[in-house]
Symmetry: C2
Subunit: 200 residues, 2 copies
């Protein structure tokens, strides 16, 4: 017989295994048996901890919806009115996190494509917050006369678009980065183009 864990630890173990599989193969592409095998337990254990496969998926999406430290370093730069610092911090952190663990980006895309009911909540808590942070920063700097007058939200999404697209191309579609194009250099380029583009 297998090691006996506390319910909480076992539950976490199931979630960890499921995150990996759902993010790689989607909800419909993942078998509950695979999850059980990956967690080293029997299928029945999954159903002791989660009512349905969909319930497990929802639990994951909700857990991944907590906002984390991504905004912290950007907020510091924002306080010091370091425009390039704000953008650099956001871009680099996003890329770094996604390269280290692409499961979040994949889960987000899968849940939207597959039309999961929590996809919207997922988007609101993970993406919208970032958009709002940057757009209100831009709005403030427009008021201060440092940036040109423009739709701050659309503009902010434009910047995130450059970063997200970079991740799509390299992490999802698997395009190889030529040696001259490190993430850091790409972010520098995006920041410089974007800043020069919006400054007065």
């Amino acid at each position: 017989m297998k090691e006996r864990l506390s319910a909480e630890k076992r539950r976490q173990q199931i979630v960890d295994a499921a995150v990996e599989l759902f993010s790689r193969k989607g909800f419909r592409g993942t078998r509950t048996r695979e999850i059980a095998e990956a967690a080293g337990i029997s299928e029945a254990m999954i159903y002791r901890h989660f009512a349905t496969k969909r319930g497990l998926y929802s639990a994951i999406i909700e857990a991944k919806s907590v906002t984390e430290e991504l905004l912290a370093s950007a907020a510091t730069a924002a306080h010091g009115k370091d425009d390039a610092g704000v953008l650099r911090a956001l871009g680099l952190k996003m890329i770094e996190q996604t390269v280290r663990d692409p499961s979040l980006m994949r889960l987000l895309l899968f849940s939207a494509l597959e039309g999961h009911e929590l996809s919207e909540i997922f988007f609101e808590s993970r993406v919208k917050k970032l958009h709002q942070f940057l757009s209100s920063y831009i709005r403030k700097r427009i008021k201060e006369g440092r940036f040109r007058s423009m739709d701050a939200l659309v503009t902010a999404r434009g910047f995130f678009g450059m970063i997200v697209h970079y991740l799509l191309v390299h992490e999802l579609f698997g395009v190889k980065r030529p040696p001259r194009s490190s993430p850091k250099k790409a972010v520098e380029l995006f920041v410089s183009v974007f800043l020069k583009g919006i400054e007065r």
Copy 2:
């Protein structure tokens, strides 16, 4: 008995029904029975025209891989060295096409996420061509001294990122456009920021 069509027409009918379903629900999420029902025939007919479900999916991806007229208007502007015109044409056409028929974007994302073998070919023929067109235009304009010196491919992908991200946000995640933000205005904004950002 149902109407008797020519093999070619029937095949096309199956493909049409399948495109709609695969783009909405993905490969794994689509049942062959659903495709048959949507096409108004029996499952066996699918298997008379395609060896396997996967074969049908591959046929669709290959068919969708043909490059179309997207580059035409941009090429005209490129010839006249109308920088804003090039970017505007690319951005507007991409948005217009995707809004009219989102199936292509969804198929592309699904095939990459689900790891379909033809996903790479799909990407190369649909996406890479655009990247190459714009990056070689940018490279030329750098040589002519109109744009700052920078990595043309990364820069070009930055512009497409703004457009693609706009489509992801509105077409995939279903964020409502506020009335002030029409696609046309958004493209104008992206073009203006991007151009000002890369010009000397």
